[in-house]
Amino acid sequence: MVELSDYSGLNPTWCPGCGNFGILKALNSALVELNIEPHRLLLVSGIGQAGKLPHYTSGNIFNSLHGRPVPPAIGAKIANRELVVVAISGDGDAYGEGGNHFIHACRRNHDITYLVHDNQVYGLTKGQASPTSDTGFVTKTTPSGAAPPINPVTLAIAAGATFVSRGFAGDAEHLTDLIKKGINHKGFALIDILQPCVSFNQKNTFQWYRQRVYKLPEGGEYDPADKAAALGKAQEWGDKIPIGVIYRQEAPTYEDQIPALAGAPLVTREISPAQVENVITEFL
């Protein structure tokens, strides 16, 4: 059995009280509860404080460029479909630098889970506005206030993602459950995680979020398969912020639809130069 001690790593360099600690705890718990051994796991992260997370736990790790964790995660998943692939970003990484990769990964429905640590600010570069900063958020790069934010949940549903959810770093238990659901989901699973930045975001604090977040009811009261209702729920932001699975549908994954991927993982297949002989005859 996998134990929490299997998911220990380097000591985090995050600020004391950072929302990332809750996310790390929830991810480790989810991996243990799903009994995923570290060598079966691939964590692909970007750059930012979120991107450091893989080093503070365990697994195969590909710490990628800023904005780019999703494409190598896709390449690795196709190379070895047996890997559990989790991509990890911050809001700048996912929705700014990596915006194009994000919408197309949603659309193609790759079978990976995407954790976005959404603290509505750039932390590692010390406090500039991010794509999800609230309207009017004043920073050194937005002295007149930030432009209206991207709504990642709406964007993901519109782009065709098949699992769209929002978690809160201040509720690790709920987040653990979301991450488990995301990993178990066949297809692209977004978990946008409200993550207070204790150093650079004095507006969207733990307290601010705690006063607003509420858990979407499960078991029939809220139906995440209803796309129109989900888009409506995704718009809710302000006095009340829903967390939980906002949208979910079953659909074939990208990988399921590639005939070449039927059978053993690509990485285990032998290299056979003789394979080219049949093709050569076409050119004669």
Binding site: L10, E37, P38, H39, R40, L42, V44, I47, K52, H55, S58, G59, N60, I61, F62, N63, S64, L65, R68, V70, P71, P72, A73, I74, G75, A76, K77, I78, A79, N80, E82, L83, N100, H101, I103, H104, I258, P259, A260, L261, P265, L266, V267, T268, R269, I271, S272, P273, A274, Q275, V276, E277, V279, I280, F283, L284
Partner: protein, 565 residues
């Protein structure tokens, strides 16, 4: 008398210039002739002026020639532009019923292409039959070629009938203009483009993953491998952009499959970020840059060798890479296999530089020998020792650390685009940084040993040496023949491995010849600059072409003479 016939099929986009030209080349290849054919087209879907040149010889041919023996003009513009290119004894076929104002040139022969076709769509096939009748081509062989191309059914039957109609029209009406060729069938050769040869090389090398974004002239590589995906077990992902393409390719390479991407110069610009990622994470990846004239969009459907200095230096920081440039279609197969081997053996990005001319030109090549294909995957960790002791970036004497594949053993494969320690975890420790940089750069020592002697042609001692790289190999070789026939003392050196640079081989040539000229399809002589930095020597001169058109033997020979060769 040796056979050397140059066909040119011209018309506007949508008239079937490419298919008629290809079928002509295919027909001549099937009859046993050697063929070299290039394509000249504009960046548009309909209209404009396009042509397809197919040069036929009974011996090896590696370049196009400007003067035309048999011109097939599918529109008036082709007559206007290419009639002046007709060689002595040359003839032109056109449709006098649809082109009334062709003029009174005696070399023009009208064949009612559209009327014989019954519909405009197959006029190009009628023209094909007519052109082949001018050399008394075997009509039964033409039927076989058309059946093979159009497969079975009504389309094939219609085209066979159309070709036959054009063929018979010429056989009846132009007895005096025909030139019978001896049949030279000697066994089947392949007829393929540089891009095709790269695809075959990738398949033979065991490439299992490609991600790319469509871009001329690299697009046919992704299309071909996508079409073969199910049959060969190769996944081709049409990515959202070139940044995604290179990063997906790197992800697949990290996970342990042979992976590549292909683009042109401005797509490579977007991939430069990923190039360094492959460098610092020591991930094997093959990147094809099919060059076209830049900067920016430049001349999108034309040729240039303008990216050499760019790919040598692309990305920030110091890390090892390899740059290869196949010198012809045949060479592209072997170079591609070498690229995959080097990428894995030395765990670095390998760039293959082709260009529009090589990527899209057809050549006849003897069927590739599979027996000689050697797969070298380099050092691989297969579960030796305790898995917790595995360190992806272990500092070794060669600089190469055994690769483990995530998920295939209990060893964890950890890497980072930040500087990292041996275990792959990010660090800012000064000593570790120094050790990792040195470790990565040490891989070049081994890689340098892999460099082979470059291709040379002509006597070892000559007054003049022509030095080229990549796709110009065939044109320079024929230019050497032209100049030697005129009594000049000339030889050549053609580089297909550019980085690590073959310093010794190039220095040898520079030390012997009185005059040394680089021949390049760019405006500044990028190879000349590389030679200077690597050997300390200057060349005597540069023969450059950068109008987007391919270097030809006659162009090179004339320019060399002007230089004083």
């Amino acid at each position: 008398m040796p056979v050397d016939i140059n066909f040119l099929v011209g018309g506007e986009a949508g008239q079937g210039v490419q298919s008629a030209g290809f079928l002509l080349a295919k027909a001549m290849s099937r009859a046993g002739y050697h063929v070299f054919a290039d394509q000249d087209y504009e960046s548009r879907i309909r209209g404009g002026h396009n042509f397809f040149r197919a040069r036929i010889k009974d011996g090896r041919v590696g370049a196009v020639r400007e003067d035309v023996d048999i011109l097939v003009a599918l529109n008036k513009e082709t007559i206007d532009l290419h009639l002046p290119e007709l060689a002595a004894g040359g003839v032109a076929i056109y449709d006098g019923e649809t082109i009334a104002d062709a003029g009174a040139d005696k070399r023009l022969f009208s064949v009612p292409l559209e009327k014989l076709a019954g519909e405009r769509l197959m006029a190009n096939t009628v023209a094909l039959g007519a052109a082949l009748a001018l050399i008394d081509y075997d009509p039964a062989m033409l039927d076989i070629v058309l059946s093979g191309y159009f497969r079975e059914g009504k389309v094939a039957e219609g085209n066979i009938a159309a070709a036959r109609a054009g063929y018979e029209h010429v056989m009846k009406g132009y007895a005096g203009k025909r030139r019978a060729l001896k049949t030279v069938v000697t066994g089947r050769r392949m007829l393929l483009t540089g891009n095709d040869a790269i695809c075959l090389g990738a398949i033979a090398a065991g490439c299992k993953f490609m991600a790319a974004y469509p871009m001329t002239p690299a697009g046919s590589i992704m299309e071909y491998l996508a079409a073969k995906s199910g049959e060969l077990g190769i996944v081709m992902v049409h990515a959202e952009d070139e940044i995604a393409a290179v990063n997906m390719t790197i992800g697949a390479g990290y996970a342990g499959v042979r992976a590549m991407t292909a683009t042109s110069g401005s797509g490579f610009c977007l991939m430069v970020e990923g190039l360094g990622l492959a460098g610092i994470t020591e991930t094997p990846v093959v990147m094809i840059d099919a060059q076209r004239p830049g900067p920016a969009v430049g001349l999108p459907t034309r040729t240039e060798q303008g990216d050499l200095q760019f790919v040598l230096h692309a990305h920030h920081g110091d890390f090892p890479r390899a740059v290869l440039a196949p010198r012809n279609v045949e060479d592209a197969f072997g170079v591609t296999i070498r690229a995959f081997n080097w990428a894995e053996k030395y765990q670095l990005p390998v760039i293959i530089l082709t260009d529009h001319h090589l990527a899209t030109s057809y050549a006849t090549v003897e069927p590739f020998e599979i027996g000689g294909v050697n797969i070298e995957r380099g050092l691989i960790y297969r579960g030796e020792g305790a898995p917790e002791k595995y360190r992806r970036h272990e500092v070794t004497k060669s600089g190469v650390s055994p690769r483990a594949f995530p998920g295939l053993s209990r060893a964890l494969v950890v890497t980072d685009c930040d500087e990292h320690d041996e275990a792959g975890h990010l660090t800012e420790d000064a000593a570790t940084r120094t050790a990792q940089v040195q470790k990565r750069l040490r891989k070049m020592v081994g890689l340098k040993q892999e460099i082979s002697r470059p291709f040379t042609y002509g006597r070892k001692k000559a007054e003049t040496s022509l030095i080229g790289w990549g796709s110009t190999g065939g044109a320079i070789q024929e230019a050497v023949d032209i100049l030697r026939r005129e009594g000049r003392s000339v030889n050549m050196l053609q580089l297909n491995e550019l980085w690590p640079f073959p310093t010794a081989a190039v220095s040898d040539v520079l030390g012997v010849a009185t005059n040394t000229y680089v021949i390049e399809s760019n405006a500044t002589g990028q190879l000349a600059r590389l030679i200077k930095t690597e050997t300390g020597r200057d060349v005597s001169g540069k023969i450059l072409r950068f109008d987007g058109r391919p270097l030809t033997p006659a162009f090179i020979a004339e320019a060399a003479k002007k230089e004083g060769c």
